[in-house]
């Protein structure tokens, strides 16, 4: 296991190196941020000073070399727009996105797995069919439209929930988050539901398919032949087996959810990383874009590692040292 983790971390460094090169080249290619940053009526002297102060006059390879040097010191550059370290900007916004993603993930698991189990165990019942039809809507209707509809119904027509923004935050267990206050939860509800809808549908369909597959296998029949209660058969024998595929997908989807909460954050004016990256792309704030992507890649690497470790807990046949990862 230790060997596995070390090898995985080394591989991750390689992934990071490749990613940073691609991102740096890609961002460099999309335009000159100076045109956006300084006012159009600036003099030539002012223009050149700005270019030099941002290091944009250097050739690409030298800019990249500087970037790598800074990276080694844990620096990801200074935002062109905010004149603050890019990584700090991102870390400031990260809790908002993380709490949104975490609550959405929790929702999709606690709603998706039970509904999927039900639909898998009673595929021909009215409830089972309704769940499946509902899940089709869940992931075929566009996410932004679902968000707008949630705002329309709950904020505008019924006037029950706030239409956007993050509520009050409080510090608990050393974490500052809006999930510790009622007002915070109230603001969080709609965006979290919006972000969770797609994942819930995915979890439902995946759970149902896994249940249908496992329920006909001999070991489930044998468990019944032992005289076990239906509850034990479903919640131990079936559930533990379907957790293997479900964990994989949920793990990967968590990364996706954090990285691409952009739509939900934009619709609900949620002050998270997604909104920051969109704003930064508009003004070509290169350091922030690069730093954001670095953070996201690190996050994916960590999530994949955790999923692999969870795998070995759910499936005893997986021994991490043997995996050629």
């Amino acid at each position: 296991m230790t060997v596995f983790v070390i090898r995985r971390l080394l591989q991750s460094l390689l992934v990071m190196a490749v990613m940073s090169t691609l991102v740096f080249a890609g961002v460099f290619a999309i335009g000159n941020p100076i045109d956006i940053l300084i006012s159009p009526d600036a003099t030539q002297a002012e223009y050149e000073r700005a270019v030099r102060s941002l290091g944009l006059d250097l050739p690409l390879w030298e800019q990249y070399w500087r970037f790598l040097q800074n990276l080694a010191d844990g620096e990801l550059g200074i935002s062109f727009v905010h004149h603050e370290p890019a990584i700090e900007l991102i870390l400031q916004r990260m809790p908002a996105t993380l709490e949104l993603a975490a609550v959405a993930l929790l929702l999709s698991i606690t709603v998706g797995i039970p509904l999927g189990l039900w639909a898998g165990l009673k595929p021909d019942s009215l409830a089972g069919r309704s769940i499946m039809v509902g899940s089709i809507f869940g992931f075929s209707l566009p996410n932004f439209w679902q968000g707008l509809m949630l705002i329309m119904i709950f904020a505008v027509m019924l006037d029950l929930m706030p239409a956007g923004g993050r509520g009050e935050t409080a510090v608990f267990l050393g974490i500052e988050s809006s999930i510790w206050t009622l007002d915070g939860l109230w603001h969080l509800a709609l965006p979290a539901i919006n972000l969770a809808l797609f994942k819930t549908s995915l979890v439902i369909r995946l759970t149902r398919a896994s249940v249908r597959e496992v329920i006909g296998l001999d070991y489930v029949k044998f468990a019944r032949a032992k005289g076990l209660s239906e509850r034990r058969v479903v919640f131990v024998h079936v559930l533990k087996n379907i957790m293997i595929p479900v964990t994989t997908v949920i793990g990967l989807e968590l990364g996706v959810m954090i990285a691409f909460a952009v739509v939900t954050e934009t619709v609900f004016a949620w002050p998270g990383m997604g909104k920051l990256i969109i704003d930064s792309i508009f003004v070509l704030d290169r350091p922030v874009i690069v730093a954001y992507l670095t953070v996201i890649v690190v996050m994916f690497i960590i999530i994949n590692l955790v999923v692999d470790i969870l795998y070995s807990i759910f499936d005893p046949r997986v021994r991490l040292a043997d995996v050629g990862a």
Binding site: K221, S229, D315
Partner: protein, 333 residues
């Protein structure tokens, strides 16, 4: 003689599929006594496994027991409420499956899977339960049972897994064990060991056993009596030796003829012509009629189950060997 432990009369289990009603079991009758092994022999698709699952009340939808009677130790199994049926399963009627690689749950440890079988039926402390499981593993010949209890199924070979499954089936010392081709997936040497041990257990503990198999040569050395199934029906029952030596039903004769034996070395094996009929579309009357060398027009009507010789029942209009047995009148058309 005491009443048989299990009596199955005219059992019908049908599967209601989109393409039609599959009559997997369509009139099967047999009985088993305590201390006796009944071999149920038939080709794939003859309904023998479904008959076993019907007794356990474990027929998966769209299948359903539609008719017949199953009486176990005076209890009407078909009228039994689900919860009481669950109480019988594993405790008084146990089952061993065909494929040992698939019988044990891959993600649960052996001790979990054994102890839950105990606690499903009785109140027992953790340490006592573990001790009982360890003894059960030792009894079926698993070395170092204490350590093996903490292992996962994938750490066992097929033969060892089947021993674990048998140990689980024996935990509550059931009155009846239904074994659905339990040795088919095993090596011949392991098969012989397990057969020997099972036979021993049945006789020393006065259990009854249903041994479901397609392999006549396995069951011939094991079973006290045999029931031959064809297309969902029991076509012949009787003591093993008599059936092997003087089969009454032409299908049984065909089965015996297709088993290789030493005395027939060098000669061509006889096989039954044609294929087993699809249970979706069974022929009228005797289902074996299209493949039978003795078939006449009369076989277009379904033959009744009748006692052809003392202790030997069969469904055939033209049973064999009856003249030699002194009952020529039954053989006449």
């Amino acid at each position: 003689m005491a009443d048989p432990l299990l009596v199955v009369r005219d059992l019908r289990t049908h599967f209601f599929t989109r393409t039609g009603v599959v009559k997997a079991v369509d009139g099967a009758s047999f009985s088993v006594n305590r201390g006796e092994v009944l071999g149920i022999v038939g080709e794939s698709g003859s309904g023998k496994s479904i008959a076993g699952f019907s007794i356990m009340g474990l027929v998966d939808p769209p299948g359903r027991v539609v008719d017949g009677a199953m009486t176990f130790d005076g209890i009407d199994l078909r009228a039994l409420p689900d919860e009481e049926m669950r109480g019988l399963r594993g405790r008084r009627i146990a089952m061993v499956f065909q494929d040992p690689m698939m019988t044990l749950n891959p993600v649960l440890r052996i001790d979990t899977q054994m102890i839950e079988a105990l606690t499903a039926h009785i109140r027992i402390g953790k340490a006592d339960a573990r001790a009982r499981c360890r003894d059960a593993l030792g009894m079926v010949g698993i070395p170092a049972p204490e350590e093996r209890l903490s292992a996962y199924p994938h750490q066992f070979s097929g033969g060892m897994r089947q021993r674990v499954a048998i140990a689980i089936a024996l935990l509550h010392e059931p009155d009846l064990i239904i074994a659905d081709e339990p040795t088919t997936a095993l090596d011949v040497t392991i098969q012989a060991q397990i057969l020997y041990e099972v036979q021993n257990l049945v006789h020393t503990r006065d259990m009854a056993m249903l041994w479901i198999t397609h392999d006549l040569s396995v069951v011939a050395g094991l079973a006290d009596r045999i029931a031959v199934m064809y297309a969902g029906r029991v076509v012949e029952t009787g003591p093993t030796e008599e059936i092997v030596e003087r089969p009454l039903h032409p299908y049984t004769q065909g089965l015996i003829g297709s088993v290789p034996s030493r005395s027939k070395r060098g000669s061509k094996l006889r096989q039954i012509p044609g294929m087993a009929p699809s249970p979706l579309n069974l022929p009228e009357g005797c289902a074996f009629r299209p493949r039978c060398a003795y078939a006449t027009e009369r076989c277009g009507q379904s033959p009744a189950d009748r006692e052809l010789l003392p202790g030997r029942w069969g469904r055939c209009h033209h049973p064999l060997h009856l003249a030699a047995a002194g009952r020529p009148e039954l053989a006449k058309p």
